[in-house]
């Protein structure tokens, strides 16, 4: 070796007492060379060993000197260096097991001003640069090696690149690579998505083993993308991720709720307080101008889309999708979220795909973004048993203060006085018949209780290098805060298996989740506004009290005795076969299936009905079946082309979805005991809904990555959908994304070393939208719900048909910069996006005189969502015992109707939209106060026609008010101190919402209680200047009725919510070892703890006064790993 000639060692040294300069070390060399023959046998022995020489080291902050001692002890290698150099060296932390010596040395010398060379059985240390000072060209060697992960599984497709020249290769199915004729001792970078890259020195060793570690840096952790994996570092698109650790801290039953506030640009709203309720998800603003289309993204669970066809027309933009409830039943929760069937504890990560680069591989269905749920998989290694148990309570977050009985009665009496009407039996039963001394706080009476929460999970996972498994069983139980009835239960089983053949070429993976849910609910009557002196719900015998309630209104609590039970079985399975015939080529086919079967029963017993009407019992039975199957063959090929790695993938997709709903109504039951079955029903009535959807696509992706520095990514997809008429089945979608990781540039590295990571990326592309229900292009005649007439079963038309509608197009543009400072101590990213949705597909309103009120059609309206997303994260403060890491995200979206040709003369839309304004704009009258003379509310007569009107044609109500959130923020802190972990997460929204005071019934109406706030300032006599108008029994017949359609009917509904708090303590390692456990964690979790808001009402988010508000949940428990 040439460098030996340069060495002029004076003396040998391998101890800390070694003195002298470099000269000495070189001389020793020579001495040793002379004695080489003497040591021949030993040498041979050593070198024979040294080829496969392995070291196990576990040292923390050790001096290099100690490391050398340890290595020498294990291997017999001697070290040559100058003692004073050690003063310049950094301390070393290392944890390797059976690692090759070169790898160990690489780690030791990674941040040292020195490098090393192995000469025979000696290791020679030299300052950096000295080895390079050779004047002869370095020798060329062929490097052979195998790349594994920490568990010893070979990594196929890992990249091996010579750092200097960019020359590279990828590993084959067994993780093997050969990189021929690279300069000896030059650096090779081994990388694989999701793992921390490693550098090794090229040498001619046969069979270097490289063990890549799973990335700990957020930047390098694997994230799931459409048909593949990437990392934040390498991604050219925008993918937000929430991982298991974050999900586990949140005691929520529906995994979508775990996303609340966590990812910028993703707005998650629970429609009501029932656990199984629909959840409205909106990613980066509203795209469709149609109110009847939910803003739901595409949901994909382990590669299987969870598509539910809309059959009932009861889903909508503001109320979300009714989900599994497609038979016409409403249910107390007004739908059932399909994601309620997914157990959050089995989820490894939830990825949200936002921009064109990330979404356009899903083509037509990705206009609203994509949410991908990946379940937990087993890891090779020790078989791990985890037991998790927690228990807790649910409680309502806040109550709203209403008038008490004397206040209420005074209000009513004054209303009569104002209206100059004499109270009589018909209009004043609350004053004349009801006991005026009663008082009930209806909110407490209906949902003042506290619910119980129990969660338990057992999971077993493990495996070896070729086979892994995970199996888990979970049970969740949560009772509602309603005082009468109500509980949600879910039992779920999750299995995942994977196996690779001995030659590693053939692999199969399987995952399956099965769940059973049962939701027992009651319809909460919208009766929290009942008069406070209204009669008791039950009589002394415990039956519904009909005697005291006025027969004209009846007892409004019959719902309490009308239980609704929904049971759902859900199975999601995916099996993936893959085969790697040659290096870089991967053939795979994924088969997926999911099936949601749900049944609902709602009973209307005789006991729940007014006995005066000789009621009969009735019962509703509903069945829903939702099936998806999908087959997706894929070919991917990775190869080194020129200076970079080219990954090409083509795939196909065939999907079939069928959704069915059956509704059976039984009536005329004469005995409540017979109610539970349709068989006992004297009369039956049934109807069904049916939809089938087929979908086929070919798609492809090309990704070219030069040294993790320049990355270009192109996606294309051609989609065909049965939702369109025969001539409009197909649509094409594509995107291009690019990223420049400028911190890989030497000049940045040299001059801006504080910047540990910097990336600029951008993407542009198209996705599509299919609109709503299937078969909208067909004329349809149905007998559904129709009765025989004259012995003939009628057939009635059900819709306008339009064979001409086609895909709507969403063009997405995004640019972003991502930075990390000081070794990821803090990271910042800023993204700007602009999505434009054209060719709007919608239920175009037609006048009802034409037969139906709408027809599915395209409209040339262009909707734009543009916004900014900021995130701040990073490792934060890290000391030995303490760490502190903040996380913050902020998003602001501006929605705008960009153009709408012919809006001014357009039917319907002209009164709802203005170009340049957001879609979620309401047009309101301008409230001008209470008239001191009359006590009536006054409004600005904008069009000066002498009338206040909100009807069409009037322009009084042209004051636009934006009702989408202005901005949303989520921020949290995570503290660790030894085994203690504390985290908070807050969500903030700035928005306008319904003013619950003004939108309620106007004060004075019979049996309508009012919030206490109305008493602050209300009109009593001419001359009064007041906020609340005159009390009147007339309700909306009075001009007071317009208040709800004015700007006074809306208010600031901004809030800060402590969404989540989590405190956990892991027992120290020492204790656990004694207990024979791997991990033992005690924890306390809380969800929806409190809300800070100026909003008057129950909750600024649901803004639904009378419905069940979202509850707060506290749980505490223990999680054990064995």
């Amino acid at each position: 070796m040439d460098f030996r000639a340069l060495c002029k060692p004076k003396r040998a040294s391998f101890s800390s007492s070694a003195k002298g300069g470099w000269e000495g070390a070189s001389k020793t060399f020579r001495v040793m060379k002379i004695t080489a023959i003497l040591l021949l046998i030993a040498c041979l022995h050593v070198s024979a060993r040294s080829l496969g020489q392995e070291v196990s080291l576990s040292l923390k902050d050790a001096s290099l000197e100690n490391v050398f001692k340890e290595i020498r002890k294990q291997t017999g290698y001697n070290f040559f260096y100058k003692d004073e150099w050690l003063l310049q060296t950094n301390r070393v932390t290392i944890d390797v097991r059976n690692a090759p010596i070169t790898q160990v040395l690489d780690i030791c010398f990674r941040n040292q001003p020195f490098t090393y060379a192995i000469v025979d059985n000696s290791i020679v240390i030299k300052p950096v640069g000295e080895f390079q000072s050779s004047n002869a060209p370095p020798a060329k060697v062929d490097v052979k090696g195998t790349v594994y992960n920490e568990s010893g599984q070979p990594l196929a497709g890992a990249n091996v690149i010579a750092k200097k020249t960019g020359k590279g290769t990828i590993t084959n199915a067994k993780g093997e690579f050969v990189l021929s004729s690279v300069a000896e001792n030059s650096l090779l970078i081994i990388s694989f998505v999701g793992y921390a890259s490693q550098e090794i020195k090229a040498n001619g060793d046969k069979g270097i083993r490289i063990y890549l570690k799973v990335a700990v840096d957020e930047l390098d952790k694997a994230i799931v993308q459409g048909y593949g994996a990437t990392s934040l570092r390498l991604s050219t698109g925008n993918i937000g991720v929430v991982r298991a650790a974050e999900i586990e801290k949140q005691p929520v039953l529906n995994p979508l709720l775990a996303l609340q506030g966590r990812i910028p640009g993703v707005d998650i709203t629970q429609i009501n307080g029932y656990a199984s309720a629909p959840i409205k998800v909106e990613i980066r603003g509203r795209n469709s101008i149609d109110d009847s289309y939910p803003s739901d993204p595409l949901y994909i669970i382990d590669g299987v889309p969870l598509t539910v066809l809309e059959l009932t027309g009861r889903s909508g933009y503001s109320q979300g999708s009714v989900g599994f409830l497609q038979n016409g039943l409403t249910g107390p929760a007004v739908g059932q979220s399909p994601l309620f069937s997914i157990n959050p504890a089995d989820i490894e990560s939830i990825e949200v795909l936002k921009d064109a680069d990330a979404t356009s591989i899903y083509g037509s269905r990705a206009a609203n973004g994509v949410i991908m749920i990946t379940t937990k998989k087993g890891k090779p290694g020790k078989t791990q048993l985890n037991i998790h148990v927690d228990q807790g309570v649910n409680k309502v977050t806040r109550f709203w203060k209403m008038l008490n009985t004397p206040q209420y009665l005074a209000m009513r009496r004054e209303a009569f006085k104002n209206d100059n009407i004499v109270p009589d039996q018909g209009n004043a039963f609350d004053l004349l018949t009801w006991d005026t001394t009663r008082y009930t706080d209806w909110q407490k009476a209906l949902y003042g209780g506290s619910g119980k929460v129990t969660n338990a999970q057992v999971s077993l996972s493990g495996g070896d290098a070729r086979t892994t498994f995970r199996m888990a069983a979970t049970y969740n139980y949560s009772t509602a805060i309603t005082t009468a009835h109500g509980a949600d239960q879910r039992g779920s089983l999750a299995v995942s298996l994977s196996h690779r053949s001995l030659n590693q070429r053939f692999g199969v993976s399987f995952s399956s989740e099965y769940s059973f849910t049962k939701s027992d609910m009651i319809s909460l009557p919208g009766t929290v506004t009942l008069a406070p002196n209204a009669p008791a719900i039950y009589d002394s015998a415990g039956n519904l009290n009909w005697k005291d309630w006025e027969s004209s209104i009846g007892n409004p609590f019959s719902g309490l005795l009308q239980p609704y039970v929904a049971k759902t079985n859900f199975l999601n399975s995916n099996i993936n076969f893959n085969y790697q015939p040659v290096r870089g080529l991967n053939l795979s086919t994924s088969f997926g299936y999911n099936n949601g079967q749900s049944s609902q029963t709602q009973l209307f017993p005789i006991a729940s009905q007014d006995p005066n009407y000789q009621p009969a019992g009735s019962a509703q039975f509903g069945n829903n079946s939702n099936k998806n199957w999908i087959i997706e063959p894929q070919i991917s090929y990775d190869l080194q082309v020129g200076p970079g790695k080219l990954s090409a993938m083509v795939g196909g997709s065939i999907q079939n979805t069928s959704t069915e709903g059956i509704y059976i109504y039984g009536s005329g039951y004469t005995n409540d005991a017979l109610l539970r079955t349709i068989s006992n029903a004297p009369q039956r009535d049934a109807s069904d809904n049916y939809g089938e959807y087929r979908y086929a696509a070919i798609f492809g992706r090309l990704n070219y990555n030069i040294s993790n520095k320049y990355i270009v990514n192109v996606n294309a997809r051609r989609d065909g959908s049965s939702n369109f008429g025969p001539d409009n089945h197909f649509g094409n979608f594509a995107s291009i994304g690019a990223a420049w990781i400028f911190t890989e540039e030497t000049w940045i590295k040299n001059h801006l070393s504080f910047l540990s990571f910097g990336k600029i990326r951008g993407s542009y592309g198209t996705t599509g939208g299919e609109g709503g229900a299937p078969y909208a292009y067909l004329t349809r005649w149905s007998s559904n719900g129709l009765r025989v007439y004259n012995g003939v079963q009628p057939l009635a038309p059900t819709q306008h048909a339009n064979p001409n509608y086609h895909w709507q197009l969403n063009k997405k543009l995004e640019g972003a910069i991502e930075l990390a400072f000081f070794k990821s101590w803090v990271s910042v990213s800023v993204a700007y996006y602009r999505n434009r949705c054209d060719n709007q597909l919608l239920n175009y309103p037609t006048p009802e005189f034409s037969g139906f009120s709408s027809v599915v059609a395209n409209l040339q309206a262009l909707v734009q969502n543009a916004g900014w997303e900021f995130t701040i994260g990073g490792k934060g403060v890290h000391t030995k015992y303490f760490s502190w890491a903040p996380s913050f995200n902020f998003s602001i979206n501006q929605n705008k109707l960009l153009s709408f040709p012919g809006l001014a003369t357009s039917p319907f839309y002209k009164t709802r939209f203005l170009t340049g304004q957001p879609l979620n704009t309401i047009y309101l009258l301008h409230y001008t106060g209470v008239d001191p003379q009359t006590g009536r509310y006054t409004f600005e007569d904008k069009n000066h026609d002498g009338n206040i009107s909100t009807s069409s044609g009037s322009t009084d109500d042209r004051y636009p008010h934006k009702i989408s959130p202005t901005f949303a923020t989520g921020f949290g802190f995570n503290f660790d101190y030894k085994g203690l972990n504390l985290s908070f997460f807050f969500t903030v929204k700035k928005q306008t919402g319904i003013n619950a005071i003004a939108q309620g019934a106007s004060p004075g109406i019979v049996n309508q209680n009012q919030p206490i706030e109305i008493l602050n300032s209300y009109w009593q006599k001419p001359g009064d200047v007041a906020n609340t108008g005159r009390f009147s029994i007339m309700g909306s017949a009075d001009p007071n009725g317009y208040i709800g359609q004015s700007d006074a009917g809306y208010t600031d509904a901004s809030y800060i919510r402590l969404q989540n708090i989590s405190l956990s303590y892991s027992l120290p390692e020492m204790v656990m070892k004694k207990l024979g456990m791997a991990r033992c964690v005690f924890f306390l979790h809380g969800e929806n703890i409190f809300v800070i808001t100026k909003y008057k009402g129950i909750d600024p988010e649901t803004q639904n006064f009378g419905g069940l508000p979202p509850a707060k949940t506290f749980t505490g428990g223990i999680s054990l790993d064995f």
Binding site: R694, A696, P726, F730, R780, N784, F849
Partner: protein, 465 residues
Amino acid sequence: MTFIKYKSIIVAFCCFLTLCGGCKKMVEVPEPVNTITTIETFSSDATATSAVAAIYNDMIAGGPGRNFAFANGATTINAGMSADELHHFGYVSLFETNTLNATDFPGITWTAPYYDIYIANGVIENLPGSPGVSDAVKTRLTGEAEFFRAFCYFYLVNMFGDVPLVTTTAWAHTDTLHRSPVELIYQQIMNDLSDAQTRLPEDYTVSNGQRITVNKFAASALLARVYLYTKNWAGAVTQASNVLTASGLYGLVSDLNQVFLANSQEAILQLQVGNYYPYTTREGHSIIPYDSTANPSYYLSDQLLADFEPGDQRRFAWIDSTDYNGTLYYYPYKYKEYVGSDGDIKEYYMMLRLSEQYLIRAEANAQLNNLSDAIADLNVIRERAGLADLPNTLNQSEVLAAVAHERRIELFTEWGHRWMDLKRTGQADAVIGAIKPTWKSNAQLYPIPASELIADPNLTQNPGY
């Protein structure tokens, strides 16, 4: 190695090509199982008959939800409140105060007849080109559809004035229609009815003798009414006479309590009440209190009660009362069953009945100054009610007044006759204005639902809304 490589790639791409080739097929779904298309609907006698049955069903059942609707009681009750016949119990209805507004106004009075017209249009436009339907069935079904189209337009024009004239199901041609003048709508009605007369049978064989399908006399009866409303007196006399002289088919039922029973001799057209809860007419179920002490939903006005002549048997047969908290409320009792019995439907919903034809002919004859003929027809009605004959000495205006009085009593709370009579004879302002302080003349026309004006920019609202 290379061989394997290429082979794999070739095989993979072959799979792909197969996939692409099959794409078109893969995205075609079979037609939905729970519905059929228009072509299938008009492919046979049976299915085409089903399409027309949908009109009957929609009228009597109020569509899939089986609600209280335009043609099963809502017209009677709403128009009754708009006029001086009915009060709503418990609160003051906007119909009663004639202060409807375009936003809150329940649109069924508008949408239901238009939906029926849509089905009728579908039948009329699809039958001619349907080879699977026999000529005889085509002819009859077209006639039935024409009748219903005319019937619905008659009510639209009388409730709303000028309305869009929709004669096709093609939404692209109808969604921006303007309102057509009343005269044009009447012309369409007359054309439909005249054509229907040539197509429809003269008996009820189609419904096995039950008076629940449209026949030629139903078309004549409605045409007589249309002529009366359009002041074609001679035409009205002719058409009414057609019905009144139909040999043996119709006659007044002497027992007033049996007039509204199913297949009553007096019925020209009834809508069949199906065998399902409440096993009786929706109108009867809505009006009759569930027991003798319950509050009524609607009760009769003092003015109407006072207008009955002493001894008028209709006052007792067709009106009943309930004592609620010490007050006696009178309610219409033409239909007598609040709830009927399973499998034993007693009452059908009366669309057209013979006594109206007497009154039409009487009025038309009076207008033509054939006073004795007019008085003779009036006396037929009066005799059945147990009243004395009118003398033959009355002059024209006295006869017309007698007709008006008789119509009010005979046809009270039936299909809005009173409301339409007051309007067509120009009495509305005087009569209703005298008893309701909130009355304004523009209230004679209901507002067009605001949502319709929003959906069709060419549509204009009636004055005052």
